[in-house]
């Protein structure tokens, strides 16, 4: 793992995480792990049509999401950031509604949650983050008080041109944006070495003179501290940062994927490394931060939460069809209004 010294100097004063915060991080990771594995089960049970699991990425997602200041920052996700959403305190029924196919982008309020709509064209939102971040500069926010955009994408998305345009724009404009790459080793079936030229995504940042760091994405504390440093760097008006969290996608790309076609179980065991949740648990035990009773409690809370989200999802029901027409524009066109009228009349007649 390499760290760029430019960043290390920025956040010298940052306090170490308190025991309370460490326990909170574990509670979040446990909740995310249970909700994630449950969502796969929901799909198998027919409760939701599809899901993109993040098994093994809990540390990368919770650690980074925990560093977001929800009063002034804004996060631009793709479709695999459930753990970030949970760490930021989103309405998880609203989040999961995308996977229930209730509404593209989810049912949560992006402005209130500071979490942009879920995005399937994975590099598309990377540019949105740069635009939003440049807006903070244009708004004349003082250095040190700048809102920061954090954009999530993977090793696969890093192949798309929009990522390169985004990094170049951000560097030229010194936009306060954190490019957070979760390198989970696989872009569906294609491994990183067949996806990313130049050795790593972080290495590309040098070409744009953006400070970058690779971090152990399975170490939640390391991820949090790296993200906190990056935010401090951006907030101080120093421009963008690239963080590449090295992790591993332990499960399939989505519930429709079959990893057995492109990797063996033996390879998975060798490549995945240590389970980030189990690793953090052992650390907390060793350091005397938490005991077995705490972990049992965290698991109980996770189960309760999952049950509540599952019930909420079950209660969602389909959206009223009129929304299909009424949410296209702020000012609907006459043609769209007449289509809505025709749809209503024909639906009622049927």
């Amino acid at each position: 793992m390499t760290t760029n010294p430019v960043l290390a100097a920025v956040d010298d004063d940052a306090a170490p995480l308190t025991h309370h915060q460490l326990r909170e991080l574990y509670t979040l990771m446990a909740a995310v792990r249970h909700l994630d594995t449950s969502a796969v089960a929901w799909q198998r049970q027919g409760i939701i049509p599809g899901y993109a699991p993040e098994l093994g990425q809990e540390a990368a997602q919770v650690g980074s999401g925990y560093a977001v200041d929800r009063t002034r920052d804004f996060v631009f996700p793709t479709y695999r950031e459930m753990g970030v959403a949970r760490a930021m305190g989103l309405d998880m029924v609203g989040y999961m509604s995308t996977h229930k196919a209730t509404w593209h982008g989810g049912m949560y309020n992006p402005l209130e949650s500071r979490f942009a709509p879920i995005q399937a064209v994975v590099a598309g939102s990377v540019l949105h983050a740069v635009g939003w971040a440049h807006g903070q500069t244009l708004s004349g926010n003082a250095a040190g008080d700048m809102g920061v955009a954090m954009t999530y994408f993977g090793d696969g998305a890093s192949s798309q041109g929009d990522v390169h345009e985004a990094m170049n724009f951000a560097a030229v404009m010194k936009a306060p944006v954190v490019f957070f790459i979760q390198n989970n080793g696989w872009a569906i079936s294609v491994p990183t070495e067949r996806q990313v030229a130049g050795g790593s995504v972080a290495a590309r940042a040098a070409g744009y003179s953006i400070p970058s760091l690779q971090v152990d994405g399975n170490d939640v504390v390391a991820v949090f501290e790296a993200t906190r440093s990056a935010f401090a760097h951006c907030r101080a008006g120093n421009g963008p940062v690239v963080i590449e969290a090295m992790t591993y996608r332990r499960g399939p790309h989505s519930t429709a994927d079959d990893p057995g076609r492109y990797r063996t179980l033996e390879e998975e065991r060798l490549d995945a490394g240590e389970d980030p949740l189990e690793r953090f648990k052992q650390r907390l035990l060793t350091d005397g931060v938490a005991d077995e009773a705490f972990f049992a409690d965290a698991q109980r809370l996770a189960v309760e939460e999952e049950e509540a989200v599952r019930a909420g999802i079950a209660d969602l029901g389909p959206r009223p069809g009129a929304e299909m027409f009424s949410l296209v524009f702020q000012e609907p066109t006459p043609a769209l209004q007449s289509q809505a009228t025709a749809w209503r009349e024909e639906s009622e007649h049927a």
């Binding site: 049912m107 949105h128 939003w132 524009f329 000012e331 006459p334």
Partner: protein, 356 residues
């Protein structure tokens, strides 16, 4: 967009005279003046793109605006259209009113994901919480002998995308008011500027409030415009083709054919009522556009006319368009863009149609 876009008063600017509020401006000057007023009135409006800052744009549409309004309001970006349009999305999410420019129409293609998947859908995707008040200025159509990708006719592509609105002015007066109107909208508008008309002068009434930007609508700019009254048939056109159709109408008049010219202006939403009114009167129609024939906007216009005027039409709606070829290089441009003769042949086909 008012719900009844055709209820507004239609105004024919050819009857304007030079009075205190009417100035003779080129379309380039009219657009420049509109942008200047937008920046002055709306502190959240920002203009950006390639070379639009210090240079003032390759067509000088943004000339002098950076010097007057500052580098935060009018700025040059790196040369990357997807970047420009993707950045617009984020700025809109941050509460700004972006007025980006792609330098030439063909350069909208590299940004098509951001236009179609992002700008057009973000309001829908976010259930109305993230409106995209973006006015994308696109110097459009051919006629200036430009190299490849510097002259294209993309209106059907844009108009087909749910979530986008599309408009193209044909006169300096309309350019001035429509740009101000578009920039005041909460929805994304593709503003197609007929680049071959940038340097043509015409009267611009700068005293009239622009509809949608004042307390009351009074300019009649939100629907189609009858550019010339006539009895025998209707030529439907937009953008650069309107002036050519007016020329054709003058020539046809010498042969006793009284042609009405309808300037569609809005390509989405199309003013179906104005089409019905005009063709309901003339009972014959020819649609003229530069874009290729197949799946072009002419087909949409023909269907709207058929729907409202089928019983009284004296002939099928004709189309005079570009061909199903890539927009050709300058030397072949005159063969491709509907010229006066081809439009006259179209008129002839409609007038001589006999039911089999």
């Amino acid at each position: 967009m008012p719900e009844t876009i055709t209820d507004l008063r239609l105004k024919d600017d050819s009857t304007e005279t030079d009075t205190a509020g009417v100035q003779q401006l080129s379309m380039q000057q009219a657009l420049n003046r509109a942008l200047d007023e937008i920046l002055a009135k709306n502190p959240k409006a920002v203009i950006f793109g390639e070379d639009c800052g210090r240079l003032g744009g390759v067509f000088r549409i943004t000339d002098g605006l950076q010097a007057k309004h500052g580098e935060d309001r009018v700025f040059d970006t790196p040369l990357a259209e997807s970047g420009i349009l993707g950045m617009s999305v984020g700025l809109a999410m941050a509460g700004f009113h972006p007025i980006p420019e792609v330098q030439f129409d063909g350069f909208a293609y590299p940004a098509i994901n951001q236009i179609v998947c992002q700008i057009a859908r973000m309001n829908y995707r976010s259930r109305g919480t993230l409106p995209m008040p973006i006015t994308l200025r696109v110097p459009s159509f051919g006629g200036i002998r430009a190299p490849e990708h510097h002259g294209e006719s993309l209106e059907a592509l844009f108009a087909h995308v749910p979530g986008l609105k599309v408009v193209s002015p044909s006169t300096p007066h309309d350019a001035y008011h429509l740009l101000k109107y578009a920039a005041a909208r909460p929805d994304p508008v593709i503003f197609m500027e007929p680049k071959s008309r940038y340097w043509q002068k015409g009267p611009v009434d700068v005293t009239n409030a622009t509809p949608g930007t004042a307390a009351h609508d009074d300019g009649g700019l939100t629907g189609a415009r009858v550019a010339r009254e006539g009895r025998h048939l209707t030529l439907v056109a937009w953008g650069a083709m309107v002036s050519r159709c007016l020329q054709v109408a003058e020539l046809a008049a010498e042969d006793g054919i009284d042609v009405e010219v309808l300037d569609l202006r809005w390509l989405k939403p199309i003013d179906a009522e104005a089409l019905a009114r005009s063709v309901g009167k003339t009972r014959r129609a020819v649609v003229v556009h530069e874009a290729p024939l197949t799946s072009g906007l002419g087909a949409e216009v023909a269907q709207l006319i058929t729907q409202s005027c089928f019983a009284t039409l004296k002939a099928p709606v004709e189309r005079v368009t570009g061909f199903d070829v890539p927009y050709p290089s300058g030397d072949l441009e005159d063969e491709y863009i509907p010229n006066i003769d081809r439009i006259l042949f179209g008129i002839q086909r409609v007038l001589e149609y006999r039911r089999g």
